[in-house]
């Protein structure tokens, strides 16, 4: 297990290098003008002298290869540079925002997995029943619904019509401190929406896996031996039925990141998603690079997690051989 993690970590180094290099290349090739992004609306009234001076000061005309190398060598010494568009050190940007994005994703993920498991098992126990048909069709509907649409719908229903949950932000708009109670109340809607957007996949996979397992010989044998239904379900069907879901957990990470991007925007959630968009459109190299690394690491870690879980739960797979 440690060997697997170690190997993957080594493998991650070239991947991160290539991905960041790619991000610099794409950003340099993008039509966005960093000077305009830096100056914001002020640029649209600025004279040439101002635009040229900013170009000079921001070092826009350096080649992206040189900038990438410069960024890499600084990053290795722990200096991630300054974000030009947010006018803050990159470490500060990430420090302020990452925790909120992580919290949002973690809560949403836990809810999606838990609820998906429950609904999937309930549906799989009686294939073709009313419950099964309801869960399945709901899953397909949700899968087709865009995240931002669900988000706006949720705001309309819970915040406007019923007035039971706040419509956005991390705390009440008027409050000037962040308290756990406030965050708990404010995270319900965004995390709920993000969970709902991820839910169909888990539900359908669980239903399929458990349904197949319930029809297999070992389960029929267990039932024939007169074992209790609960034992059969947990001991036999779930163990083999949930294996496909484990792979899913890792592979949903990129989806989760893009989903979080939309959800954070709709709910004014102060995470790194908003910063990512700004960094990309502003060709803010240092911030973009750092966020790219973060996303890459998240995806790789997700895959590693899936493999580890597989090795732990599937007797046919040996971690030592991976």
């Amino acid at each position: 297990m440690a060997r697997l993690v170690g190997r993957r970590a080594l493998f991650a180094v070239p991947v991160v290098l290539v991905v960041t290099f790619g991000a610099f290349a794409i950003a340099a090739a993008s039509p966005f003008d960093p000077v305009r992004a830096y100056a914001g609306t002020a640029a649209l009234g600025a004279d040439q002298e101002t635009l040229d001076r900013l170009r000079e000061n921001l070092g826009v005309d350096e080649s992206f290869v040189a900038r990438w190398w410069h960024w890499l060598t600084s990053a290795l010494t722990g200096d991630l540079g300054h974000s030009s568009v947010l006018r803050q050190p990159v470490t500060q940007v990430i420090g302020e925002r990452l925790v909120w994005s992580a919290l949002l994703c973690a809560v949403a993920f836990a809810v999606a997995v838990g609820l998906g498991l429950l609904l999937g098992v309930l549906a799989a126990r009686r294939p073709g029943s009313v419950l099964d048909r309801a869960v399945t069709s709901l899953s397909y509907t949700l899968e087709a619904a865009p995240v931002f649409w669900i988000a706006l719908l949720a705001v309309w229903l819970f915040a406007l019509q019923w007035d039971v949950l706040p419509a956005g932000g991390l705390t009440d708009t008027a409050s000037q401190q962040v308290t756990p109670g406030q965050v708990a109340g404010h995270i319900v809607l965004p995390a709920g929406v993000l969970a709902v957007s991820q839910l169909p996949w888990f539900t359908l996979y669980v239903r399929q896996g458990v349904g197949d397992a319930l029809a297999e010989d070992p389960v029929r044998g267990a039932r024939a031996r007169g074992l209790a239904e609960g034992t059969v379900l947990v001991g036999h069907a779930l163990r083999s039925g949930l294996l496909p879901v484990l792979t899913l957990i890792g592979s949903r990470v990129p989806e989760l990141i893009t989903g979080a991007l939309l959800v954070e925007t709709v709910f004014s959630w102060p995470g790194i998603a908003a910063a990512t968009v700004e960094a990309a459109t502003a060709v803010d190299f240092p911030l973009l690079a750092a966020l790219t690394v973060l996303a890459t690491v998240a995806v790789l870690a997700g895959n590693l997690l899936a493999d580890l879980l597989y090795g732990l739960f599937d007797p046919r797979v040996k971690l030592s051989e991976m």
């Binding site: 039509p31 966005f32 003008d33 305009r36 830096y38 100056a39 914001g40 609306t41 002020a42 640029a43 649209l44 009234g45 600025a46 004279d47 040439q48 002298e49 101002t50 635009l51 001076r53 900013l54 000061n57 921001l58 300054h82 568009v85 947010l86 006018r87 803050q88 050190p89 302020e96 705001v155 309309w156 915040a159 406007l160 007035d163 039971v164 949950l165 706040p166 419509a167 956005g168 932000g169 991390l170 009440d172 708009t173 008027a174 000037q176 401190q177 109340g185 709709v266 004014s268 959630w269 102060p270 908003a274 910063a275």
Partner: protein
């Protein structure tokens, strides 16, 4: 659960006499727009008036005046040497009085107000003023508005309380530039102005101090205990940053916000609301079509005059802006003191046709006129995603077609538009506040043709150049008024731009305060302007 719910119920509850669990019965709150309560426990109204939550569309990139924040005044964290009142008249702020102008308008001397302290308790000195201006003028500082101080040759302190500006040339509107916020040298001077944390943790002399800034979400402010002016009745306020118009309107309706900036169609939905008022701010914010002088068609004077006569400005105001705006007959709005009365002109399609006939533009195939084999046709770009500009562009094209001129409308990003500004028309939006020179010089002076985003039409008219120079040199209001009047008349005779509309900015706000006003606003709006431009002077309704 009841107790938790009350935190999210409508803020309007606070106007109810009894603030208790009964407040959770929220459905009654929207309907009862009672004024100050008359029974015991009656500070509900006053308490609600002490804190305000405002929804704005965008936030500043930085809160450091060294990089351009608050350069037009109205920053709540900082003060300039001067400030503007509701009629945009200059009044002293950190200066004790308006500046003494000597040396034929080339030396401006300011004496500082006594006893002013920064919010950290340190006194303000002339050194802080000098540091601020010198840093903004420094080439290495990434300030986007440095050219606005182009006239300054030198700034120096004379003693602790006097600051002397020396100008390169006589520049009448200079005093209006000194609304620029002053920063403390003992804080900002210790760091790099481009990247230091003064950008996010500012210290100033203004009526409020920043308590927290969650970028992309909100900024919180509370009253500055060291403020030199009267104590504000509004003790704390929050600016919530909500880019999407619909979400902003939604949160205003749910009671999460007390006020917000809104587009006309959404502001209209609050009209019947007793507990809220709509404020309409007039503005300098115009929409115009640039007609590049280099273009075969757009550079032709007859075409320019015909277009000017053919556009139906009133229809644009009514249809595109839902009436929230005014026809623009020139760069200055009709209620600006410098506006030249009498240049208003109705739509005149027949006149447009006559102008073109006389100039030899004869009707050709498809109803499009031509002259010497050149079709009267040009491309008009607008920044994609800006619906108001798109609507203006399409309306302009349809009006032009009626006069036999073909305008091909295309949306594009600024990256695409910028290299084409010299040859193709652009639907531009500009407008500066404070002095006619600020907006007009950069828009019209031939020496600035094609200089970045200055004079996008490459307009060149010697008489206009001369009047622009006279207007900025002379200190005599009569001479200046004559010069700016002449410029506006010249733009009618030889229009390098077709001015279409001046746009009103709309704000909806809970009706808990008395005597709120709006200023004439510049092109940028929402954060520093709106009814909250003077929030420190708001007083609760009696």
């Amino acid at each position: 659960m009841t107790a938790r719910r009350t935190r999210w119920t409508r803020r309007t509850d606070r106007r109810l006499p009894i603030r208790s669990a009964a407040a959770a019965v929220a459905f009654a709150a929207g309907a009862t727009a009672c004024s100050a309560p008359s029974r015991g426990g009656g500070d509900g109204g006053a308490e609600a008036a002490e804190s305000v939550v405002i929804g704005v569309a965008s936030e500043p990139d930085t809160l450091s005046p060294l990089l351009g924040y608050g350069k037009d005044g109205n920053s709540k964290i900082f003060d300039g040497l001067l400030a503007r009142d509701s009629d945009l008249e200059l009044k002293p702020a950190l200066a004790a009085a308006l500046p003494k102008v000597t040396d034929d308008g080339r030396t401006y001397t300011y004496t500082l107000r006594e006893g002013v302290k920064f919010s950290d308790g340190e006194p303000l000195t002339a050194g802080d003023v000098v540091y601020t201006y010198r840093t903004v003028l420094d080439e290495k500082t990434n300030n986007t508005a440095r050219s606005e101080l182009d006239a300054v040759e030198d700034v120096r302190a004379s003693g602790d309380d006097t600051v002397v500006f020396t100008l390169k040339y006589p520049y009448a509107p200079f005093a209006a530039r000194t609304v620029l916020p002053i920063v403390p040298e003992h804080v900002a001077g210790k760091q790099d102005p481009n990247t230091g944390d003064f950008n996010t943790e500012p210290v100033g002399t203004g009526p409020y101090v920043l308590t927290n800034w969650s970028k992309g979400e909100k900024l919180g402010f509370r009253a500055n205990p060291h403020y030199w002016g009267d104590k504000p009745a509004v003790k704390s306020f929050t600016m919530a940053v909500i880019a999407d118009d619909n979400v902003r309107a939604t949160r205003l309706r749910s009671g999460d916000l007390d006020g917000a900036v809104l587009p006309p169609n959404l502001a209209a939905t609050f009209e019947k609301d007793d507990g809220r008022r709509t404020y309409r701010a007039r503005s300098y914010d115009f929409r115009a079509v640039t007609l590049p002088s280099a273009g075969q068609v757009t550079g032709d004077r007859a075409i320019r005059r015909a277009l000017d006569a053919a556009v139906d400005r009133q229809a644009m105001v009514d249809k595109i802006l839902d009436g929230a705006g005014r026809p623009a007959y020139g760069p200055l709005p009709v209620d600006d003191p410098w506006y030249e009365r009498g240049i208003e002109r109705p739509r005149d399609l027949a006149g447009a046709g006559r102008i073109l006939d006389e100039a030899g533009w004869k009707p050709g195939s498809g109803g499009i006129r031509a002259k010497d084999g050149q079709r009267a046709s040009f491309t008009l770009y607008y920044p994609s995603g800006d619906k108001v500009r798109q609507d203006h562009a399409l309306a302009y094209a349809s009006d032009a077609k009626k006069a036999g001129i073909e305008v091909k409308v295309e949306g594009a990003t600024w990256e695409v538009i910028e290299p084409r500004m010299k040859t193709d028309a652009v639907l531009a939006g500009l407008g500066s506040v404070g002095d006619p020179d600020f907006g007009l010089y950069t828009l019209l002076h031939s020496t600035l043709a094609g200089d970045g985003f200055n004079n996008m039409a490459h307009y060149a008219n010697p008489a206009v150049d001369e009047a622009l120079d006279a207007g900025r040199r002379s200190q005599d209001p009569k001479v200046r008024a004559a010069a700016y009047g002449e410029i506006q008349k010249a733009l009618v005779a030889d229009p390098g731009y077709t001015f279409l509309t001046h746009i009103d900015h709309l704000y909806v706000l809970a009706d808990r305060w008395d005597g709120l006003t709006t200023q004439l606003e510049p092109h940028e709006h929402g954060f520093a302007s709106g009814p909250w431009w003077n929030i420190e002077n708001w007083r609760p309704k009696k």
